[in-house]
């Protein structure tokens, strides 16, 4: 039993670290604001969420587990809403998403 929980917990931890890493990479490398917001959101929800899940499995029944679950719920609610609010604010203030269409138009216009 102990072994299964350990294995599960480590899977969650490694997956969480992976999502944190890809989120950071996306934040740096994605082309426009909206996709970068998405990357940051992935770090908050999947990355932090998976790591918290792994930690919950490690903690076992008790007060620590309850606190971790509260953090998990709270961060899930807060960070997704914050991402939504940011994206909506950007859209409202006139920032348009960078679409494939723009990309093709740019390419064709840059061609002689």
């Amino acid at each position: 039993m102990e072994l299964i929980i350990d294995i599960l917990s480590w899977i969650f931890l490694v997956l969480g670290s992976f999502f944190c890493f890809t989120g950071a990479l996306g934040l740096l490398r994605f082309p426009d604001f909206f996709s970068r917001t998405h990357a940051a959101g992935v770090t908050d929800t999947m990355g932090a969420g998976m790591i918290l899940l792994g930690l919950i499995l490690q903690a076992g029944w008790g007060l620590v587990m309850a606190k971790l679950i509260m953090i998990l719920v709270f961060s899930f609610l807060a960070s997704t809403t914050a991402c939504h609010a940011m994206a909506k604010a950007a859209l409202k203030s006139g920032l348009r998403p960078h679409t494939d269409h723009d990309h093709n138009a740019e390419d064709s216009s840059s061609k002689p």
Binding site: F74, L77, A78, T81, H84, A85, K88
Partner: protein
Amino acid sequence: MHDLFAVVMLSGIYSLLSASLFLDLDAVDVAFTEASVGAGISTLLFLATLKLVPRHEKESRYKPTLALAVTIATGALLIYGTLDMPHFGDGNAPVHQHVAPRYLNDSMDEIGIPNVVTSVLASYRGYDTLGETLVIFTAGIGVMSLLLVSQRTKDQARKKVPADMQQQVILRVVAKMMIPLILIFALYVQFHGDYSPGGGFQAGVIFAAGIILYTMLFGLSLTQKVFNSKIVELFTALGVLLYGGVGVACLILGGNFLDYDVLRHDAVHGQHLGILLVELGVGITVASVMITLFFKFTWRTVKHKYNQ
């Protein structure tokens, strides 16, 4: 950097980073304060101010050479001053020799609460905390008199002025779920401050943040039904009064000012009661000052929008 919005965001990030630094140094109470006050409420108040003033700094007509020189000179002097200080973490440093051993060794017998920070803050150093509460009270009065608004604006705001974020359904739903949790957490921080990190300052700020979030999403007129601005303004003074009143009660019962030993038959019980009341006073003052400041900013926005 001329974009003031970016400056506000950077100062918030700076506060959050220093909060993690304090946490790393095992100063949990200070980290908590820094996170809630520095990164939380002051960023919020800065943003509220930015709504009233232009976003970009004006181009200055002269080069601030003199100011730069003064800053560099002061910085150099400060660094020169640190050369004589004891090494970091030196056990023989005066700060660890003077009163700290007494606080750490005798706090449990004299005050009887597990969180030494709270006992130092509210009992041993009660005068200083009274001073801090008065500073917040005074700052609140200062801003209130700077941002005077006419009765007409207040009436205008009391009518159905829609909140700016009335349309944001998702934000409203999530806020409805979170605001009760925020308020309960504030009360927990307030009343559990004797046993865990926290206390009046943090609790007041968190409570105010919950109310401010509600005001932003549902409008001032709804908030005012519960938190009438006049009553909140009275509460700013009530907190300080409670703090000072505990001190005077100690005087009347034959002790020194803010010497809680005489409040109950048993010295430790007296300390418990005194700390609880004093922290409550701090919490009330901080929360109501912050709420009032935000009300003032909102009134100003309403004035700019509707009374022209």
